[in-house]
């Protein structure tokens, strides 16, 4: 990728935050790169995979974040520089090793990049992983723009080696997925590092937490390294401080919070009157600089994206060092909402209130805008036209109609999770009843539980063992999720002989995060051929006997297979296999779809709309179905559903 090779002095590159982090890794001389894809972090390793042929490093899409973390850690123990990237929730998967590795520390620089998702744009939660870095007692940096994202990544390798600790970089959606100008730096042209391994490197039993002197003493070493970090980072370059002579109020900000604050101060015209402290280090905080800042002011306002992580630490510090300063932020009597994300408007309004400045607002225009807001209808998210999951969900709905009761369908994470998003404009109300059956009138209402990767099938096991007999118990998961965290649960279902049906929605790629390859794809991260580990063989080897493999574009066979699986007592698996329609279109674009609705035959029953395909449209005035020719991929699903055979086109 040319952007990654560009080193010309004075050039400016427009880089996405994730590309800037990738660029920083290359400039920092990374040797080993690992990740499991997760929005908004995926482009870090996608970029590094594309650039891999130009630079001599190893890159892999690991089966999950724990494996990714351990692969990177293993390389570091032999002296290599490694980087592991993941999304907020991914860190939870890696947590076991993440909490323990700091006890032994590392040898080659190990950089952990975690992209948080305030406002949960693409995530099940809004967790602030800076807390995890503090929990693990490792240095944590938070960039405020793309330039800092690149610079911090580059310098993190060296810092990691100096402290012999992993270094954590916290990004957020608005940084990772936004682009900004970046001045590229020089690419580390160090000769290939020789790898080595010494089990007693600098300390006895260095890479073995149990080895004498044991975990408690290794924990003590970690405390010492944290003290050393404070000393080493006294003159770090990521703190900026501005204190005007007359200032009584100041702002302490980090990351994107700092960038919103700067813009708001400019717009309000108070940037010359308010003191401003931006910290790039979240752990350790530049405590002595913060102490003198606090002592020079009467009031300090905290602006940070996520939880009050900096604020909480500084409140403790202030109690000791500056007890008279008034502190406002997201804690006690909070002025900022700790949920959701910040933006310039929120910061402006909040600062105006806190500083008793009049907010310049055209209230008349705002009133008109509010009234006009009724015109803006929601746009529910949908699966793509021709998505194989549409066929799977239709077949599942049909199969379930053959069984009485309130069935439970446990969802999982991937494109198919949209089966739990609902239609935004339907107005659903809660009900206090214990058990109640609801009709499934769209594929977007089919999933009943939805949490995190791998949770669906394991929850299904719990439901079967709780003697729930009001209906069938099922779970769904995709192929990448199957390898990521479903495997141990399948083993559990088999071992406990749980009476459940598990559907694997196998579309050959990790689609929701941008079509990365996985063990079921047959391709490496750089596009080379790789072994393909076939799912039916794996589940059979785990002792599941009732296994079916069907094509979800064939609705009758898919329905029959799901019925058979549901009739079986004990664990059963149906693998619905069909490559993602987008990937097929990318390779082999359909010139003109043949699917059409014969309006003479169409009776306007709108059955085809229940498929939930965005290419099936309905003309209300004429009361006839239609096909959006720009979207249709001739999958043939709607023509199998039409009760009067009005839809045709695909060769039968």
């Amino acid at each position: 990728m040319s952007l990654m090779k560009d080193t010309e002095e004075g050039n400016i590159l427009l880089l996405m935050g994730n590309e800037a982090i990738a660029r920083g890794a290359i400039e920092g001389g990374v040797d080993v790169v690992t990740a499991y894809p997760g929005t908004p972090s995926s482009e870090i390793v996608e970029t590094l995979a594309r650039a891999a042929e130009d630079f001599d490093y190893y890159v892999e899409w690991s089966t999950n974040e724990k494996v990714a973390f351990e692969v990177a850690a293993g390389a570091s123990l032999t002296g290599k520089r490694s980087l592991v990237a993941m999304k907020n929730a991914g860190l939870n998967v890696a947590m076991d090793t993440f909490m323990t590795l700091p006890y032994t520390g590392v040898k080659g620089g190990l950089v952990i990049v975690v992209a948080d998702d305030p406002n949960a744009h693409y995530s099940s939660n809004e967790q602030d992983t800076r807390t995890a870095a503090i929990y693990a007692q490792i240095p944590c940096l938070e960039p405020s723009d793309q330039q800092e994202a690149k610079d911090m990544t580059k310098s993190a390798f060296k810092l990691s080696e100096e402290l012999e600790l992993p270094v954590f970089i916290r990004s957020v959606t608005r940084l990772s997925h936004a682009s900004g100008n970046v001045k590229p730096g020089s690419i580390c042209a160090a000769p290939p590092k020789k790898t080595g391994f010494n089990k007693h490197w600098k300390m006895p039993y260095r890479w073995n937490v149990y080895g004498p002197p044991g975990p408690v003493n290794k924990h003590r070493w970690l405390y010492q390294q944290n003290e050393k970090a404070k000393e080493l980072l006294k003159n770090e370059k990521y703190t900026s401080i501005f204190i005007p002579d007359s200032a009584e109020t100041g702002i302490i900000a980090s990351g994107l919070g700092a960038s919103y604050a700067l813009e708001a101060l400019n717009v309000l015209g108070i940037n010359e009157n308010i003191a401003f402290f931006k910290t790039g280090f979240i752990n350790p905080l530049p405590e002595s600089k913060i102490t003198s800042f606090l002592r020079s002011l009467k009031k300090v306002i905290f602006i940070e994206e996520g939880d009050p992580v900096v604020e909480k630490q500084v409140r403790v510090l202030a109690q000791e060092e500056a007890p008279n300063v008034e502190i406002q932020g997201k804690m006690k009597d909070h002025i900022f909402d700790p949920c959701g994300e910040l933006n310039v408007n929120i910061v402006e309004e909040t600062l105006c209130k806190a500083l008793e400045i009049k907010l310049n607002q055209d209230t008349e225009r705002e009133d008109i805008k509010e009234r006009l807001g009724a015109l803006v209808i929601p746009r529910s998210s949908t699966l793509c036209a021709g998505c194989p999951h549409l066929g799977t969900y239709w077949a599942l709905k049909k199969a379930l109609l053959k069984f009485q009761g309130t069935h439970i369908i446990n969802g999982d994470i991937g494109c198919y999770e949209q089966g739990g998003y609902g239609v935004f404009s339907s107005e659903i109300k809660g009900s206090p009843d214990d058990s109640e059956k609801y009709p499934i009138d769209s594929p977007y209402e089919i999933l009943d539980t939805l949490y995190v990767m791998g949770s669906g099938i394991a929850m299904a096991i719990g439901q079967t063992q709780s003697e729930y007999t009001d209906g069938k118990i099922l779970a769904v998961a995709g192929d990448s999720t199957f390898y990521h965290t479903v495997l141990p649960a399948v083993m559990d279902a088999s071992y406990s002989n749980a009476d459940l049906t598990f559907l694997v929605l196998d579309n050959s790629w990790t689609c929701m995060t941008g079509h990365q390859p996985n063990p079921n794809t047959g391709k490496s991260p750089t596009g080379e051929p790789a072994p393909r580990i076939e799912i039916s063989g794996v589940v059979k080897a785990m002792g599941i006997e009732n296994v079916h493999v069907v094509d979800p574009y064939d609705l009758q066979r898919s329905t029959d297979a799901i019925v058979k699986a549901l009739e079986f007592e004990g664990p059963s698996v149906v693998i619905l296999r069909r490559e993602c329609a987008l990937q097929v279109q990318r390779r082999n674009r359909l010139k003109k779809p043949l699917t059409t609705v014969d309006t003479e035959k169409c009776i306007g029953c709108s059955k085809c709309l229940e498929l939930g395909c965005p290419a099936v449209i309905f003309d209300t005035p004429s009361h006839k179905a239609g096909i959006d020719k720009l979207l249709c991929v001739d999958c043939g699903l709607c023509s199998q559903i039409c009760p009067v055979s009005a839809i045709s086109g695909k060769e039968e």
Binding site: S179, D362, C384, C415
Partner: protein
């Protein structure tokens, strides 16, 4: 500071269009050796990869720190789809700002299933009039099809945008378009750009 939002539905090319605008601004800054100029590009979108609402924010200027345009501060809304133009425009367009809108609808599933009514284009234009912004509305998808493919609709819209007073020139935009679109579609896209430019100019003159 110059702020522009490209709004549309996932798959329509709004992200590429916003990158072309941002690249044109960077190129102008490089050629003018303007090291103070900053460009930020951010996206707000729903969970779906395809078919979800997408709005890309492009900020160009010296005091630019973050990627999100505040409410009521967009100079231009480039709307690739009517409902999404309204969604982004109502929130972000400044008083006196300019809205350029493709009138070809992409109906959400909420409308198909009879749960919501899609506002008419006339209502949308009227709404923008009420909040003191100038709308230019035309069938950009139709123009793109005439040029060779519906997919060049985003470039038709960039052509229309080039009539605005921008911190870069129409030639800057054309230069970046040549670099960013697939090689075999360059001539189609350059034609789409010209057609969009002419169409908007003609509408403004009327």
């Amino acid at each position: 500071m110059f702020n522009i939002i490209v709004a549309g539905v996932g798959g329509q090319g709004s992200i590429l269009a916003s990158h072309i605008i941002a690249d044109a601004a960077i190129r102008r800054a490089c050629e003018n050796s303007d090291h103070q100029l900053k460009v930020r590009l951010g996206e707000t979108f729903g969970a779906a990869m395809r078919g979800g609402a997408v709005a890309s924010h492009v900020k160009i200027g010296r005091d630019v720190y973050n990627p999100l345009i505040p409410e009521n501060r967009a100079d231009v809304i480039l709307g690739l789809e009517p409902l999404e133009t309204l969604r982004a425009g109502l929130r972000y367009i400044k008083p006196g700002g300019r809205v350029i809108m493709n009138i070809r609808k992409y109906e959400p599933v909420d409308v198909n299933t009879g749960k919501s009514d899609y506002p008419t284009v006339e209502k949308i234009v009227e709404a923008f009039d009420k909040i003191d912004s100038h709308v230019t509305a035309f069938d950009a998808t139709g123009l793109a099809v005439e040029c060779g493919t519906f997919k060049s609709m985003n470039v038709v819209m960039l052509g229309a945008l080039a009539n605005c007073s921008l911190p870069f020139s129409a030639e800057d935009l054309e230069g970046i378009i040549k670099q960013r679109v697939p090689e075999k579609t360059i001539s189609i896209n350059l034609r789409a750009f010209q057609e969009g430019f002419k169409k908007a100019r003609q509408l403004w003159e009327d």
